[in-house]
């Protein structure tokens, strides 16, 4: 069976600064992968390369066997335009550290926007589905609030619902709780746990070690643009084999 997402020898440089130096990663359907690592190790860059918000400078990402952002024409390989990429991007939902809800639209309007204009779903059906999703993330009673009227946790849960509305095959999370006040982190993590339990495939960059330990099927530790160590969270967290992993974990755990 082809994996849902396959990353091969992925490289990314900003100018001469090499941020990703050959990443290989495989994500199977239904798996939850957590990526941890020190600041600046390239976690966000890796996630953004998966859906081509950043254009990799080497290697490739395959979504169900198809290269992301690239297409074969006979024997030559062509970059896709923004609009050609749109089709692949809608299969990978993404949740950002800064939420990025559309401020001029209510929570409900945020959620129905893409299904209606991208997929052409009739408005009544889109709204019914959106209300179900908002209910799932605990935002039903705030459906008609604007982002400015919502707390950070509420905004992030709405953002998750917005991504889910496109029925993606895969969800990418880039430190979804880092911008939240400590007492709001739990509600967002609970929503994500719930999503994982339902079998959603997820790639999560996080500093929440508890979440990684409990929810991840596979834990990846990155440092300096490479994957230093990976495996079952219980193994990596309890018996790290590399000094760098050990140093990182002791630092993170002493903080919390």
């Amino acid at each position: 069976m082809t994996p849902l997402l396959q990353v091969e020898k992925l490289r990314k440089a900003f100018g001469t600064h090499e941020v990703l130096r050959g990443i290989d990663l495989q994500v199977n359907r239904g798996e939850v992968i957590c990526i941890v690592g020190p600041s600046g190790s390239g976690k966000s860059t890796l996630l953004r390369c998966l859906n081509h918000l950043e254009k990799p400078t080497g290697g490739a990402v395959f979504l169900m066997g198809e290269p992301v952002g690239l297409r074969w024409k006979g024997r030559s390989l062509h970059e896709m335009t923004f609009n050609e990429l749109a089709r692949q991007r809608q299969r990978m939902g993404m949740v950002f550290q800064g939420f990025h809800l559309f401020p001029h639209k209510t929570a409900l309007e945020n959620v129905v926007e893409a299904p209606i204009i991208v997929k052409g779903v009739p408005r009544a059906q889109a709204e019914a589905e959106a209300m179900t999703l908002l209910d799932k993330v605990g935002m039903r009673d705030r459906a008609h609030y604007y982002p400015a009227q919502l707390s950070g946790g509420q905004q992030q849960r709405t953002a998750i619902a917005r991504s889910l509305a496109m029925k993606p095959d895969l969800m990418l999370f880039d430190e979804p709780t880092s911008a939240l006040d400590p007492e709001l982190v739990g509600e967002v993590l609970a929503t994500m746990r719930h999503l994982a339990d339902e079998g959603m495939t997820m790639v999560v960059v996080t500093h929440e070690m508890g979440f990684a330990r409990d929810v991840a099927d596979h834990l990846v530790f990155m440092d300096g643009g490479v994957i230093v160590e990976e495996g079952k969270p219980s193994e990596v967290l309890i018996n790290p084999r590399h000094d760098r992993t050990r140093a990182f974990l002791s630092r993170v755990i002493s903080e919390t």
């Binding site: 859906n51 923004f82 991007r89 993404m94 950002f96 990025h100 001029h104 893409a114 991208v118 609030y145």
Partner: protein
């Protein structure tokens, strides 16, 4: 802590409101300016040359009202066209296509640099340069052609001069507005699978326009006054209609006052609209605002003065 006991000749500090601090300089200056204003008003009203009865006669004259309509039509058309072109220019300027960027830059450079009055005269005399305007295959056969003099009336020349000038300013405003929108908005929309046009139309432009609306309001007021330039093309706007009447009756000052009153009325109406829109935009989304919340002369209080003294 021990409080000083209220003395016999003075009430307790807790029972009395303090007298607000007075700014003597502000009072004096204000009085002088007020006196000067009244004097000026008196000259206006009592000076016989103002001929207020004549002003009243012509204020609602059919020609004046027709001129007023023309002024409004010019303002609206020039703004609509100018904003539409400006929007296209802004998008071209921000696109990754080099040719688009350059064409947009040259257009903005040219039409910001040439005075609208010069442009209008130039457009009106376009026939001297291009006697015929045709649509066809470039460097190939013509499909349709028009005589330039039929196409370019004083009205089209005026609209071109005003709208093209506005387009250059609008382009810069809209570009700044688009750039002020958080790039995360575009990324979020992209990950939802929107195309470039959808991102622009549904997500970026609505937010950019919110930023750009106050300066557009300002431009509309300027445009209303700029339309008076069209009198050089003998286009009967408000000013030219007044000029035509006083050329016949020699009532120069009263008719200029008629035009002035109408211009002031229109700018006042536009200013109120602008305030209302700005007020609404400043409110948090979803918060209802009412017209009477408007404050044209908000009081600037320093905090220590606004602290209420509890009874």
């Amino acid at each position: 802590m021990k409080r000083p006991a209220p003395s016999a000749d003075r009430p307790s500090i807790h029972d009395i409101r303090p007298v607000p601090a007075r700014n003597v300089g502000q009072w004096l200056g204000g009085a002088v300016l007020l006196a000067m204003g009244l004097l000026f008003l008196q000259i206006l009203v009592t000076n016989g040359n103002m001929k207020w009865p004549v002003v009243a006669d012509y204020l609602f004259d059919a020609k004046i009202l027709a001129g007023l309509g023309m002024t409004l039509l010019l303002t609206v058309l020039a703004m609509v066209l100018g904003l539409a072109i400006g929007m296209v220019l802004a998008i071209m300027r921000l696109s990754s296509g080099r040719v688009f960027q350059w064409i947009s830059w040259v257009w903005i450079w040219f039409f910001r640099g040439v005075p609208p009055l010069v442009q209008m005269i130039f457009w009106y005399n376009l026939a001297l340069l291009l006697p015929e305007i045709s649509i066809g295959i470039p460097f190939g056969p013509k499909l349709v052609s028009w005589n330039t003099n039929d196409l370019i009336t004083p009205f089209t020349a005026a609209i071109m001069g005003l709208a093209f000038t506005e387009s250059a300013y609008a382009a810069e405003m809209i570009r700044a507005g688009i750039q002020a929108v958080n790039p995360g908005q575009t990324e979020a929309a992209a990950t939802l699978g929107m195309t470039r046009a959808q991102v622009l139309r549904r997500i970026v432009l609505p937010q950019a326009l919110r930023i750009v609306i106050p300066p557009i309001g300002n431009d509309t007021i300027s445009m209303l006054k700029f339309t008076s330039l069209v009198s050089v093309l003998a286009l009967p706007d408000l000013l030219y209609s007044a000029q035509m009447i006083y050329a016949r009756t020699y009532q120069t000052i009263p008719l200029l006052i008629v035009a002035t009153l109408w211009y002031l009325l229109l700018t006042t109406v536009l200013t109120i609209c602008e305030h209302m829109i700005e007020h609404r935009l400043k409110a948090a989304p979803g918060q209802k605002t009412r017209f009477w919340d408007l404050r044209f002369f908000p009081r600037h209080r320093s905090t220590h003065q606004s602290a209420e003294v509890q009874p």
